[in-house]
Amino acid sequence: MARYLLRRIVLLLITLLITSVVIFALTQLLPGDVARLILGREAQPQALEDLRLELGLNDPIPMQYVNWLSGFVTGDWGTSFTSGNPPIRPLVLERVGNSLLLAFYALAISIPLAIFLGVLAGLNENKWIDNVISVVSLSVVGLPEFVTGLVLINVFALGLGWFPASATAPADATFGEMLSQLTLPAITATFVLLAYVVRMTRAGMIDELKKPYVRTVTLKGLPRRQVIVKHVLRNALLPTITVIAISFGWLIGGLIVIENVFSYPGLGRLLTAAVERKDIPLLQASVMVIVFFFALANLIADLLYALLNPRIRLE
């Protein structure tokens, strides 16, 4: 297991290294002079040149990349281009916390619900309950987040008044207030995750129920509940773990839209703002952090999978 873990961590680092090259290369494609972007149109040529020197913009590109990466790794994430040039690291880290809070809330709702619905559908293959779950998850659940989010706001915030319409997350909010603010965004995120996890759990259940060992344990007289809980679920839920890891990518994409719908100060909203303002250092830092958490989630899922499946672990 230790060797497996080590190999996975090395792979994670390689992934991060490759994506850092991709991100850096992409942001280099940005047209325009960065120094002019910061100082504005009326800047003196001398001031522009000084800033270029200070930012290392005259260095060869590979050199700039190495400087940027070593700065990023050692915790120097640079300063934002926006007025006041705030340092990026505290800004991004604060937003990461907010986004993670929302992500965990969404996962806490969606994973148990999705597995429950998937198992229910799988156990009742092609009966009405399976059809209802399939149709609902296919149609409603595949909608873009901004559509579901706006419907939820309209019904539960503006209509019924149960939850606030935006999640602005003031620092002094109590836990209860936070929870109530985050409920609608979390439910919106749940919708996206639900479809895939339900689908794969259902398929896993159906496959597993057809296997010979299920017949054996049934014929030896084990009650149905025990057959399912003790034998089938363990195997059927294995692929579900991978699906949850993959749908993390969907969750991240979803959060970007959802944070914009609910005006929630998370990393996704920071990223869209950075894109709008062409704030390159902020853009680079946000994307690197997002990719890091995405890779970490995949790593955790792989480890969990290996823990539950000796065939992988002992390979």
């Binding site: 992934t15 399939s134 909608l143 706006l150 914009n260 894109v275």
Partner: protein, 300 residues
């Protein structure tokens, strides 16, 4: 009967086009037997019709300001009402149908074309092409799709062309991987071996022997890519990185309508409902295809 006529020949292969046409017809027949898939098919066909003829049906142009008719609620005259500037929302939705369908469709078609070709070659020959594709895909999949799309569109600037390019870059490797593994499974089959022994050309083997075999995976994957591409285009539009004004973009219309939601809610609901209906239609259709071809498709 001369010896030349003894049928040592392989059974005559119908042309690739005939095979594709046959697959298309049987697929349509099977789809129409499933009520939900039929609903999806009808919805998609209606939207394609609107994408083509929408501007002809629309009573107004998308940017036409109707004098003295700002913020009109839906009525016989203005089916979905008018917005704060006095533009007919119904007409704007109709005009907007073209881009939300055409851009994902073009992007999907290109991704499938490139992806299938690369996948066929990689799967059949293996070797370095295979390695390059796999590594490239790993790198791409490490960044969530919407994040990568945001960064790319942010750098090259939002435009219709940009959206197509971004989707093609995102989806070509995914299609390539699917077709590659399907090809890999077929490579060892007897009839491929037989074709090689008859010294058929590589092109013949790839496109006449293998392609029909990987067609089910290709069809399902195309439908899935199309639905994801619509999802992505709509989301990018909502975030302000879609088709640029004055062209009406459904996602952007929804975002802009939020400011005036209290006065003109119809301005928000019309494009939102249009997106919802289109996505539901495409999802029902692609689900039907998945069941018919018994292939789940890629999740990303």
């Amino acid at each position: 009967m001369t010896s030349a006529n003894v049928s040592y020949d392989v059974p005559v292969q119908p042309s690739a086009l005939t095979q594709i046409r046959r697959t298309l017809f049987t697929t349509l027949r099977k789809l129409s037997r499933r009520p939900l898939s039929l609903v999806g098919l009808v919805i998609v066909l209606v939207f394609i019709f609107l994408a083509i003829f929408g501007p002809n049906i629309a009573p107004y142009r998308f940017d036409e300001l109707i004098r003295g008719a700002t913020r009109q609620p839906p009525s016989e005259l203005y089916l979905f009402g008018t917005d704060r500037l006095g533009r007919d929302v119904f007409s704007r939705v109709l005009w907007g149908a073209r881009e939300i369908i055409a851009l994902p469709a073009i992007a999907t078609a290109l991704s499938v074309l490139f992806g299938a070709t690369i996948g066929l070659f990689a799967g059949y020959f293996g070797g370095w092409i295979d390695e390059v594709i796999s590594r490239f895909l790993d790198g791409l999949l490490a960044i969530p799709a919407l994040v990568l799309a945001l960064v790319m569109l942010g750098t090259i600037g939002p435009s219709s062309f940009g959206i197509v390019v971004v989707i093609v870059i995102l989806y070509t490797p995914i299609v390539a991987r699917v077709i590659r593994s399907a090809t890999l499974n077929m490579r060892a089959l007897g009839f491929i071996e037989a074709a090689k022994l008859r010294s058929e050309s590589t092109a013949y083997i790839l496109f006449r022997e293998i392609l029909p075999g990987v067609l089910p995976a290709l069809v399902v994957e195309s439908a899935l890519r199309f639905s994801y591409a619509i999802f992505l285009t709509a989301s990018l539009g909502f975030l302000g990185l879609g088709v640029q004004p004055p062209s009406p973009d459904w996602g952007r219309m929804v975002n802009e309508a939020r400011e005036t939601f209290a006065q003109t809610p119809w301005e928000l609901w019309a494009p939102a409902a249009a997106i919802a209906l289109l996505v539901i239609g495409v999802n029902l259709l692609s689900d039907g295809l998945r069941s018919i071809f018994r292939y789940e498709g890629q999740l990303v």
